[in-house]
Subunit: 462 residues, 2 copies
């Protein structure tokens, strides 16, 4: 007698874990050009896995006219009359530095208790593999009853620069009724969530240039405006005493939260003490007049992601640096427009940089903030899948980070996008010792599996 999909899942726990470890061993760092061959290997690993699972049509597709990182596309379209769901994931990861702070090797997945440690464990190889394994369980048991299209990309961590044009170019091929973005998270280990808002991102590199080359700080010190000092002045001035960003017109288009929405957000089970513990800080901080959940989900921010000037090696070097650099990113919320932020930053710098130095700004990623439908047939299918799996109704959540794909799916394909994922705020994504709570790898597989089943049942009224 044949297995049910859930039975298949149960009987394949060991195999699915071994596959996760193999997936995590791939050094698919998309921000560093020397890892380009690893990205190619990542695309091949994913496509081979999909073929073995039972996808007949799998292809590695170029992006950005071959200048981008390759993307894996696959489809299974044999459920005549049933809806088509497009599922999104990525297989690339962030760099691993500072490497010396990792307690276990970032590309050798290590399990301690219920937790698996590796770069990409949370963001987002566990989740990408979870929806793949959900589809495997449905395919291998002959139970898949929706049409499925997959796009699994290799450059989300550099801001998905070629995704919008890819979606536009392949609009017909990617046509669907609903999209699932698995690059998402949940509130706490046992509280699943559906994310209905994501912040946008603009990422900049600011250089302040002073002397033509590094100078002796004793010889010239006191007579030259030190560019590292000027950089600190400029960065310091980007927030006021209330923690508000001072770029001109930065808040002009920020959506005001309705009292009802604020009340709903305030019901988050995560306390400030929980949040401080997750971050490992003694006290929280933020924009005056807003709660933590609002500060991280509904309000825009400006963060320093990196600082560099002069001598940073061991010991002392009495140098007056020629230049200083800050990596700065802003998180945007509806209805801010990413294309306006560079101009705001440049206006700020033009107004505040002294005449003694020159400056330049390079912009890297720009992603729009997004606000999604909170009530539709597909959203209810997802909510039910989560409730069946976790035995608790999902929370609706605003996320602080940026997943450009969400906007691209929303804008280019014009369908409902469901953000359903299983990462946690304290998983250490992007930092050392990134990890993932393993029971939610299996509950994630089950949730995705039930979502696909619920979609096919079509027993919701819209």
């Amino acid at each position: 007698m044949s297995q049910t999909p859930i039975e298949y899942l149960e009987s394949h726990r060991e195999t699915f874990l071994a596959e996760l470890k193999a997936f995590l061993a791939l050094e698919t760092i998309s921000t560093l050009s020397e890892h380009r061959p690893d990205i190619q290997r990542g695309a091949e690993w994913v496509s081979e896995n999909l073929e073995v699972m039972g996808f007949e049509h799998v292809e590695i597709m170029p992006t950005g006219q071959g200048r981008g990182q390759p993307l894996v596309y696959a489809d299974w379209l044999h459920a005549d009359g049933a809806p088509t769901v497009l599922v999104y994931g990525h297989f690339d990861v962030q760099p691993v530095d500072p490497l010396n702070e990792w307690l276990t090797p970032p590309f050798e997945a290590t399990i301690k208790g219920d937790t698996i440690y590796a770069r990409g464990a949370s963001d987002m190889k566990s989740q990408t593999l979870a929806f793949m394994k959900a589809l495997e369980a449905l395919l291998k048991t002959g139970a898949l009853a929706v049409n499925v299209k997959l796009i699994i990309e290799g450059e989300e961590e550099v801001g998905s620069p070629n995704m919008a044009s890819f979606l536009r170019e392949h609009k017909e091929k990617l046509k669907c009724d609903v999209a699932l973005n698995a690059d998402s998270q949940m509130v706490s280990r046992d509280q699943p969530s559906i994310v209905y808002g994501l912040r946008g991102l603009c990422y900049f590199e600011l250089w302040v240039h002073g002397p033509a080359s590094d100078l002796h700080s004793g010889l010239f010190g006191g007579s030259i405006h030190n560019p590292a000092q000027v950089l600190c002045d400029l960065v310091s001035g980007m927030h006021d005493a209330q923690g508000r960003v001072t770029l001109p017109n930065f808040y002009d288009e920020v959506r005001t939260l309705a009292p009802a929405e604020r009340a709903e957000l305030a019901r988050s089970p995560i306390t400030d003490a929980d949040w401080a513990r997750a971050a490992g800080v003694k006290a929280l901080w933020g924009e005056g007049g807003f709660s933590t959940v609002e500060r991280t989900g509904a309000r825009p921010t400006l963060e320093v992601n990196g600082l560099y000037a002069g001598f940073i090696g061991e010991g002392s070097k009495t140098v007056l640096p020629a230049k200083a650099m800050a990596k700065i990113s802003t998180r945007l919320v509806p209805n801010q427009r990413p294309e306006k932020i560079l101009g705001q930053l440049e206006s700020y710098l033009a107004a505040h940089a002294p005449e003694t130095v020159s400056w330049e700004v390079k912009q890297f990623a720009a992603g729009e903030p997004v606000l999604l439908n909170r009530d539709s047939k597909s959203v209810r299918a997802a909510a039910r899948a989560l409730e069946e799996t976790f035995e608790v109704a999902p929370a609706f959540q605003l996320l602080g980070w940026s997943v450009p794909i969400t906007n691209h799916l929303n804008d280019e394909l014009g369908v409902d996008v469901i953000c359903m994922g299983f990462g946690l705020a304290d998983d250490g994504t992007h930092g050392p010792n990134e990890h993932f709570y393993l029971p939610n790898y299996y509950r994630g597989i089950a949730s995705y599996l039930r979502f696909f089943q619920n979609l096919s049942k079509g027993n919701e009224t819209d």
Copy 2:
């Protein structure tokens, strides 16, 4: 017929240049522990050269109970009844980063026109070798008529941490009537100088600690006080709008310049335009109410020597860094006390660092400011040597940098210290493309040679 010392010098120009190139090829970087073998080789090179020159007694001596870098001592004490001069130099150099900004390899001396390019060309291998070659000319022509003791150290660039104890320990051995510090500079290519004041130095590394590890800036951004931002706030606050340092009590003990001294300093032939050109900046900057020569020689300063936080590699990484670091040094003038500065910095941090972060300060070097005798028999012997060589009387100059040996010689041996050297402000010391004006290598040799001769003549009244 035997040569005069000056004729010896003229006939050995090629040899002396070849020896300078060989000396500059040694990678004697004292701040980086991996170069410790190079420091040992530097000490051996210097001592072998001194032996070949005719010094009978040369030894490589340990410092700091063997934990410091080795120092070369040599003496020649056959001028009965004549004064004894102790000559100081160092053979170590600064690190070479940023290496990619060097136009020629830092340890392959390259001559373009009248200039020699290499790490250490100006600070201070050319000058160390210049006094060695002056002594060679006197020894080889049988004309040396003063007693000479040499100390040539290998850790000046880390602040000569073991020099004071070395001088104390070997007080009897180092007994002398006058000391010559060759680690000095001149005003311009044709204007020699005797330096009568040097600034002191305190060097710190400040760390600001926030989250326990690097966080995802989208997830936590807006709710955590970013330690890179806090570091910028703290560094920015260390100067006020008038360019004054804000550490509490920083200026309390600063010596007030007398109007006559200010008038003399104002006679410097270097204009602000010259200085801006030397530094490669479009405009100068500094403490309100003081001239450039006062700002760099007679006023204390605080400089940022390095900044580091988060991700500084290629591209973007959306990290909220766990910690941020600034290397900060203060230059001190009489009568500031270096041992008070750490406390002033800590008071500032205690008053201004927010409760959301923690901080720590490490102190590296601490050197005292010094003010030297401007009129004595030995100072006049030096002045005459410079005038005979350059055909212009030397200027008396305040130097902005720190040469801890000057204080140590002053304090521990209690003799007049003459600071006579041939570097220039725009030699690019401590930065990329360090260089030295070659004609002053030969004029330096001649000046030192005449100084030793003038000392022995003793035809000055004191």
